[in-house]
Each structure stands twice: as structure tokens, then as C-alpha cells.
């Protein structure tokens, strides 16, 4: 069959259910709203790294599913999360991305979060400690004890990342949620403090799941000149995509051959604790967080969906807190020459997902997106994506292949992770 006509083009692909999805899951406004409500407001999100707020009274602000969030480190060194919303009249308490409350803000006191609007103040535990002219205005009808901040579940885990969940009663604990997937790197990440050395952002017109797909599938290494030309060897093809409960996938290690890369020396000299050099682990956390430890740098991507066709991606690079300046410089160079905003691969990956976003803009004709490659779960098998969309269907209760229909488990899918783990 040569080029296809409309009915051939829209026919179901000659693949099994679960081996493709309908593009409306990437472009429908209603589905996007459901993802915020049913998914992002209930899962554990790695919002930042604790090295971004190293000292007592340091803060970082962020947001999940449109809800503004503030992370603060208390005098007790505890990291806590709150809605970044004043209980009085809804002012955003802190507008900057980061800083310290040690000195206090222009209209407040040191060691307090002050709402600039009417000067209500809160301590690092979210207690309201000051209401301006409280007695005069409220008599005893409302007292500061009643107007604390909204506290959010927050844990520092898996190498110092700060995890927040908007749900007070998450389906599963953070440990259960991601512990098994992090198993492979746990010892490494928790050996000693890490530090973020790189941060940048992209807002691109594509669906967040397409970014996550690209982060998890390696078949697109055909796109990257260096990977294509120097990377396709036995060790590479020996890697596996391992499925974990809750929609996560881990891609196992292999040795990267840097010798063949022109212009960039081998990274063999620098690594992470308990890891031989030139190792690579990638942990793809459902529904859109990626931890990629390659040789000398740990890369971490997080998504914040802004619309069916728009996503904010935050990129971080991490090394060890105790790096010497030389070591740190090495990590920076290795990380950024490939994954920096002016690096080799990242631009290509982003051009790719934007190209997908462009053909799947809201209201465009539904298309079929295939992930039907079967290679014994090795690197170019698309099983990671199949596993992911099964989980997605479960949360949103829509069939990924026909999103107008409710989700029905696909045969044998429930056992995916178990089966994979058993291999």
C-alpha cells in the first residue's frame, strides 16, 4: 500500500490494543482539566531540591495544577510546604521564586512569612503569629489561631528532592509510590548530599506526556547524531526498560563509550558514590518526572502542564555538594554540552516534541500514535510507554486508545510491573 487515503489513514493500525493511543489524549481541553483534578492534585511531585533552600528560613515557591505553593526550611531545619495563599484575602504570600525570610520582607518582621497586603504574619510552621489590629477588627470573632496557612504533605527523599502532594490522604505513601523505582539508585543518591548546579526552563507547545514519552523511549536516538553514530552497540541494545507499579519505568545501566566522541573527553574520571564510572540509569516517574544519572551528572526534569498543548519543563543538573571546583566544572560541562539549553541533544528533543505538538494541536483531526515496538523489553521496545498509558487510563478513567470510552484494563496489563520485575 503506497500513500494512504483518508479511510486507510484513519483505520485502526494492525497492532494490538495498548500498542497505540488516540491523539486526543494530547490535545483535548477537557481531558487536560481532568488530569489536573484526578491526577496532579493527588500524586507526589518533586518540586525542587533541598539544596535550593540550604539554610533555615530559606524558601522556594512553585505550583502544582494551578495551586501556588511555598516551601520553607524552618529553624529546625525541617522543610515544609504550604499553599502560597494568605488566609485573609488570598494574596500570594511570596512572589519571588526563592529567597530567605531571615531578614523579613519590607512590611514584615524577620523570620516570618509576611503577607505584604495587610501584614498578617506566619512562622515557618504555617502558624499565623500576627494579625494587624486583631482585637480592634475582629474582637473575638476570629483569632490568629484560626487562620494558619494550608499545610501540604511534604517529604525530602531519594537524594534530597522535595516531594509535595496536594492530597492530604494520598493513595499511597511516597515510599510506596516511588521507592521501588528508585531502588537501583537509592544507595548512590543517599550516600551524601547532592547539590543542584544547573537550572533552566522551557515552555513549549506540546502535551506533557509527549515530553515524558521522549524522555523514556530510546528509539529516538536516531535523532541525535552522536548517539546514532557512536552509541548503537551491544551494551546499548542490552539495556532494558523495566516497568514498576504506579506507571514508573526504569532503564538499566550500560557503559557509555566516550572515546568515540570527538571534542569531548571521556567522563570516566568522575562519577557518583557506589557507582562505577560510565553508568547510566534513567528513572521515569509517572506521570512526568525524569531522573537521569549518566556518568558525571544527574539530570532531573519535571513537568508542569499548562494546557493540553503547553507544558513548563524545569531542567536541573546535580552533582555532589562536596565537589571540588574542578569536579563541579567537569559535571557542568558534561551536563550542559548535551543537556543544557545550548547543548547537543536537548534542543533536538524539544524540537521533536514541539513537532508532535504541532500536529496534535487542540481540535485537530484525531490521529493514531504508535508505541507498538516489541523487542523483549530492551532499549528500543516501547513497553515503557505501554505501561505508562495503562496507568494513565486507570487514573483518568478513559481508554487511551479511545478516550471517549471509560478505561478497561487490557489483558495481562495489571501484571506488567510484576511480570517485568520477575524477568
Amino acid at each position: 500500500m503506497p500513500a494512504r487515503n483518508h479511510s486507510q489513514w484513519t483505520a485502526e493500525p494492525p497492532l494490538q490494543q495498548g500498542e497505540w493511543v488516540d491523539s486526543r489524549i494530547y490535545s483535548d481541553q477537557e481531558i487536560f482539566e481532568e488530569e489536573n483534578e484526578k491526577l496532579f492534585k493527588h500524586i507526589w511531585v518533586p518540586v525542587c531540591h533541598e539544596s535550593e533552600l540550604p539554610n533555615a528560613y530559606d524558601f522556594r515557591t512553585t505550583s502544582i495544577a494551578r495551586e501556588p505553593i511555598i516551601i520553607v526550611r524552618g529553624a529546625d531545619n525541617e522543610v515544609r510546604a504550604f499553599l502560597n495563599v494568605c488566609p485573609h484575602r488570598g494574596m500570594m504570600i511570596e512572589r519571588r521564586p526563592s529567597g530567605s525570610f531571615l531578614e523579613g520582607q519590607p512590611s514584615g518582621n524577620p523570620k516570618r512569612m509576611t503577607c505584604m497586603f495587610h501584614a498578617w504574619q506566619f512562622d515557618m510552621k504555617g502558624n499565623c503569629v500576627y494579625v494587624a489590629r486583631e482585637q480592634e477588627g475582629y474582637q473575638d470573632r476570629l483569632c490568629k489561631e484560626n487562620v494558619g496557612l494550608r499545610r501540604l504533605r511534604c517529604e525530602v527523599k531519594f537524594g534530597g528532592f522535595v516531594w509535595v502532594n496536594l492530597d492530604d490522604s494520598p493513595k499511597v505513601s511516597l515510599e510506596e509510590w516511588a521507592g521501588p523505582a528508585f531502588e537501583c539508585l537509592r544507595e548512590t543518591l543517599d550516600a551524601e548530599p547532592l547539590e543542584v548546579f544547573h537550572y533552566h526552563k522551557a515552555i513549549v507547545n506540546t502535551n506533557y506526556k509527549l515530553w515524558h514519552d521522549t524522555n523514556s523511549e530510546f528509539y529516538h536516538d536516531f535523532m541525535h547524531y552522536h548517539n546514532r553514530v557512536t552509541g548503537f552497540n551491544d551494551a546499548y541494545f542490552a539495556r532494558k526498560n523495566e516497568a514498576f507499579d504506579n506507571g514508573h519505568v526504569v532503564v538499566g545501566t550500560f557503559t557509555v563509550n566516550y572515546e568515540n566522541y570527538e571534542g569531548f573527553e571521556s567522563r570516566a574520571e568522575l562519577s557518583f558514590p557506589h557507582l562505577p564510572p560510565n553508568q547510566w540509569y534513567m528513572i521515569d516517574l509517572f506521570p512526568g518526572f525524569n531522573f537521569n544519572l549518566r556518568g558525571s551528572a544527574l539530570r532531573c526534569d519535571t513537568v508542569t502542564p499548562l494546557g493540553p498543548n503547553q507544558v513548563l519543563i524545569e531542567f536541573r543538573g546535580l552533582g555532589l555538594k562536596r565537589d571540588t571546583p574542578e569536579e563541579r566544572m567537569t559535571r557542568i560541562n558534561h551536563h550542559n554540552s548535551i543537556w543544557g539549553p545550548f547543548g547537543r541533544n536537548l534542543h533536538e528533543d524539544l524540537v521533536g516534541v514541539v513537532g508532535q505538538g504541532a500536529t496534535m494541536a487542540p481540535k485537530s483531526e484525531p490521529r493514531r500514535i504508535l508505541h507498538g515496538r516489541q523487542e523483549n523489553q530492551t532499549i528500543h521496545d516501547e513497553n515503557g510507554m505501554r505501561h505508562y498509558y495503562e496507568e494513565w487510563g486507570r487514573w483518568i478513567n478513559r481508554s487511551p486508545t479511545n478516550p471517549t470510552q471509560p478505561y478497561t484494563p487490557r489483558a495481562g496489563a495489571a501484571g506488567d510491573a510484576a511480570v517485568a520485575a520477575a524477568e
Binding site: Y199, A202, G340, F342
Partner: protein, 163 residues
């Protein structure tokens, strides 16, 4: 020290501006031709989020040559980058000079998201300053160091190209 000294300063300005033109025209080798063997290039930014000075990209003259020679092999957004540069200060000392320039980079879309709609429109991409160091030699100013300090951390698709 000789602030904005007439002659050497003019040479420095001339080199900076010719570099901008070469970069705009994607004539990477012409640009490197304005750089000394000892040239070092870096794109930097400060991130309040992590409270760190960052190096987004750096390379020696040799590394930049390699980078530039690999460009045709990558899949790239072809949108034109147009630098608008204004040399601010030139400070000359013996056979050295340092200069600070302000620049703005516009992207004139080629690929964009849907080139049918967007190609040919201009967008603000980056703002920043060039911190340059020169060697003055024989009436010529050659780059020995360029720090491209950008204000932006929102870089969207990013770029494969020197700024």
C-alpha cells in the same frame, strides 16, 4: 589606563560589531576568525532559583570549532537569530582591552510551531551583556574571551548556535 582610548577603542568596537554581523549571518568561521587562538567562550546566567551562577555552555577556541563543525549534523530549529548589539564601554590597557556590550537576540521564526503561520515573524529571545576581553595586536583587536551573560532562564527550545 586609557578609557575608551580613541584608536584602540575603535578597533575593539569594530571587532565586536563585525562579530555580531558574522554570527547573525551564521558565518561561524568568520566569527572564529576574529578570535585569538587562546579564545574562551561561555554562555552564563545567574539563577535565583538555585542561587547560583551557571555556565550554560563553554568551550575553548578548539572546542568551539568542533561545535561549529558539527552543526550541520544536528536537527535544528532553523529560525534566524538576530543580535542587536550596542557597545557600552571599552577600557584599554597596554595591549589588552575589555569591553562591555548590551545585546538583545531576536528570533525570526522559520520552523516555529507551524511555519505556515509563524515563519517570518520576530520574537524576543534573549537579553544580556557581552563581557569581552581582547588582545590588541598590530592594529587589530582579537577576542581572547567572551562571556555571554544572559538574563534568561526561560529558554524554551534553546539553540544549537553560539549567541
Amino acid at each position: 589606563m586609557n578609557k575608551n582610548g580613541a584608536d584602540a577603542a575603535s578597533k575593539v568596537r569594530d571587532t565586536i560589531y563585525r562579530a555580531t554581523v558574522a554570527l547573525d549571518d551564521e558565518k561561524w568561521n568568520d566569527w572564529l576568525g576574529l578570535c585569538d587562538e587562546s579564545f574562551h567562550y561561555a554562555i552564563t546566567a545567574f539563577s535565583p532559583e538555585i542561587n547560583k551562577d551557571m555556565i550554560y555552555l563553554q568551550g575553548s577556541r578548539k572546542e568551539m570549532e568542533t561545535l561549529v563543525s558539527h552543526l550541520p549534523k544536528h536537527n535544528t530549529d532553523h529560525s534566524w537569530l538576530r543580535r542587536h548589539t550596542s557597545v557600552y564601554t571599552v577600557d584599554v590597557e597596554d595591549d589588552k582591552a575589555t569591553a562591555v556590550s548590551s545585546f538583545v537576540v531576536y528570533m525570526n521564526v522559520l520552523d516555529g510551531f507551524n511555519s505556515h503561520i509563524e515563519a517570518g515573524e520576530s520574537r524576543l529571545f534573549l537579553t544580556g551583556k557581552y563581557y569581552d576581553t581582547f588582545k590588541l595586536d598590530n592594529g587589530e583587536a582579537k577576542f581572547v574571551k567572551r562571556e555571554v551573560k544572559i538574563d534568561n532562564r526561560r529558554l524554551d527550545k534553546g539553540s544549537h548556535w553560539p549567541i
